[in-house]
């Protein structure tokens, strides 16, 4: 059958080690700088997909959860590091950021999960606006001026600090896709799928839909927060308008949609593809072109491959002559159907 989780994890750790060693061999630290952002989007896309892809609840507030993680790190930095020069290790900051965002995810879920479809999406968007307003007015973490974080130049024995951050984000990305895959193949994953397809029927089949949705918002939020926690150390200067920016919300939706939402592979492929494209565009053209790329790709995929790259491959592999006729007929009956 399918690969067991420890094997899966091991394979990905080996791949990660190879990528890290390869990047080191290239001898240019910019690759870590760019790679960090791509990996961050792997985590964000995977996290979004746990709620959006598995359960079918579209979250427009990814930036809020990401920013919560980032701002918990800033708050701790202001509270501890600036006062007595003790630097809390970044993995600990990631756990704290994850905890804060997870709790907020749970709270948001409890308040909004009785809403469905567009109303839920609007509520998550509202959450992002409310949190941004709070942060802008919270002087302790820099308010609208933003906050500076001074990170060490080097870390032993890896060398440049950016390599360390890259490594941490890679570990988180591996953890993220492992969690997503675990969920997918578990009882929880089947429950999520039943919620996505038909909540009334899910309830009738005995699925405690509200509890499962709360689990999804909590895991999803926590992963986003963990992705955000090291961000102040990466960027050095954290500003509310960019941390709560549209990029995060749009990218974490677009990447799973382009990759395919029904499996862990989708967000991974989508984030690697889109994230790399954006990094290349940033260097060669301009960073302003990023969202344009996302927009265009999204339109193309919604029209040509509504089930993303994974869906495209899946259909191609499973295609039998008689199936194909049937599927074409179904698609003709339901034009523009988005999963």
């Amino acid at each position: 059958m399918t690969v067991r989780t420890p094997v899966f994890l091991l394979v990905w750790l080996v791949i990660s080690a190879a990528v890290f060693a390869g990047s080191l061999a290239l001898g240019n630290d910019y690759i870590f700088f760019a790679g960090y952002v791509v990996l961050q989007y792997v985590v964000l896309g995977t996290a979004w997909n746990i709620l959006g892809g598995y359960c079918g609840y579209v979250n427009f507030g990814s930036a809020a959860f990401f920013a919560l993680g980032a701002y918990s790190s800033v708050a701790i930095y202001k509270l501890i590091t600036e006062n007595d020069f003790y630097r809390m290790p970044i993995p600990v900051l990631m756990l704290i950021g994850g905890l804060v965002s997870g709790v907020v995810g749970f709270g948001m879920g409890y308040l909004t999960l009785r809403l469905r479809g567009a109303f839920f999406a609007i509520a998550t968007l509202a959450l992002a606006v409310v949190l941004q307003t709070l942060v802008v007015n919270w002087d302790f973490v820099g308010g609208s001026r933003g906050a500076y974080i001074i990170r060490p130049e080097q870390i032993e024995p890896i060398g440049n600090y950016i390599r360390y951050l890259f490594l941490l984000m890679m570990v988180l990305a591996v953890a993220g896709i492992t969690i997503a895959r675990l969920i997918e193949h578990s009882r929880l994953g089947y429950g999520f799928a039943s919620i996505r397809d038909d909540e009334l029927a899910a309830e009738a089949a005995g699925v405690p839909t509200l509890r499962l949705k709360l689990i999804a918002t909590t895991i999803s939020g926590a992963l986003m927060g963990m992705a955000g926690a090291p961000f102040p150390y990466y960027i050095g200067y954290l500003q509310p308008s960019s941390t709560f920016g549209l990029d995060y919300a749009v990218n974490s939706i677009a990447m799973p949609l382009i990759g395919g939402t029904t499996s862990w592979v989708g967000p991974l492929i989508g984030a690697l593809l889109l994230g790399s494209l954006q990094q290349i565009a940033t260097v060669t053209i301009s960073s302003a072109v990023n969202l344009l790329i996302v927009g265009c790709l999204l339109v193309i995929f919604v029209i040509i491959a509504p089930n993303g790259i994974v869906g495209l491959v899946h259909t191609y592999l499973q295609r039998k002559p008689e199936d194909f006729v049937g599927r074409r007929r179904v698609e003709a009956e339901m034009p523009g159907r988005v999963p």
Binding site: R187, Y190, G191, A193, S194, R196, D197, D198, L200, A201, A202, E203, A204, A205, G206, V207, P208, T209, L210, T262, G326, V330, P339
Partner: protein, 262 residues
């Protein structure tokens, strides 16, 4: 004081009635805005019963099912199931207690294969009951067996979109059966089926009933209802107008009036 005593006697009486019957519906009422969908419905279904529930379109049959199963909340009255009061319980909790239903319009899980459609109630309802923990392999077998019973065994790996309407009704029924209910409510499981398919479903329901499952059949196809039911309940405009042996109920002038017009 005497009023409190009276109330407590009444509730004891209700409790003992509920203890005898598997499903005890007392004075259930439901309105949608100004429209009264159900008015003072009382119904007692003993274990092992084969009950037919009929009525013209819009008479409140599905609303009653929705109130019993927790999809809708009734404003008035109470529902007891297996001696337990259902008020305030969510639909999934009622399913866990042993109350299963099929939907009038099939609601399959469209992104899951047929086998996985059946797997959901097995994982979420059957697996949580004491002493019925299945291994992955046993669940696999249960899925195949249930699909075979409704004649969908060969399509276990297909998606619901590959099914005809008739097959979707069978899937709907198989999914309700998978929850291993004490009471199965089949809401128009046979609409659109051919004569031989109706026979298949009927014999399936009779077999389930012989295994001890109480069944409420909601149906428009009178021949099916008459051959299946041992008791018939008729709803008209949200009110119960008849309840009794099928032949007697069908001779009832009020039922004739509702069905044939005056």
């Amino acid at each position: 004081m005497s009023m409190a005593e009276g109330a407590s006697t009444a509730s004891t009486a209700a409790n003992s009635a509920a203890a005898r019957a598997l499903l005890q519906v007392d004075n259930v009422g439901k309105r949608f805005g100004g429209f009264v969908a159900l008015e003072n419905i009382s119904l007692s279904v003993p274990a092992g019963e084969r009950l037919g529930l009929i009525g013209p379109n819009g008479s409140g049959k599905s609303t009653l099912v929705n109130c019993i199963c927790g999809t809708l909340r009734n404003e008035q009255g109470t529902v007891h199931f297996a001696g337990q009061k259902l008020d305030g319980l969510q639909a999934h909790q009622r399913t866990h207690l042993g109350l299963a239903r099929s939907f009038q319009l099939p609601r399959p899980f469209v992104s899951l294969t047929l086998a996985d459609n059946i797997r959901i109630p097995l994982l979420y309802t059957v697996a949580r009951r004491r002493g019925s923990h299945h291994t992955a392999h046993e669940i696999e077998e249960r899925c195949a067996k249930l699909l075979n019973e409704v004649g969908l065994g060969e399509k276990a790996r297909r998606l619901p979109r590959d099914l005809t309407q008739v097959e979707m009704r069978k899937l709907e029924l198989a999914r309700a059966m998978a929850a291993e209910p004490k009471l199965l409510i089949a809401d128009e499981a046979m609409a659109g089926l051919t004569h031989s398919e109706i026979e298949d479903i009927l014999s399936l329901l009779v077999r389930l009933n012989e295994q001890g499952v109480t069944i409420i059949l909601i149906e428009h196809i009178m021949s099916a209802v008459m051959s299946f039911s041992r008791r018939l309940v008729v709803l008209v405009s949200g009110r119960k107008i008849a309840d009794g042996r099928p032949e007697e109920v069908m001779r009832d002038p009020e039922v004739e009036r509702a069905y044939l017009g005056q």
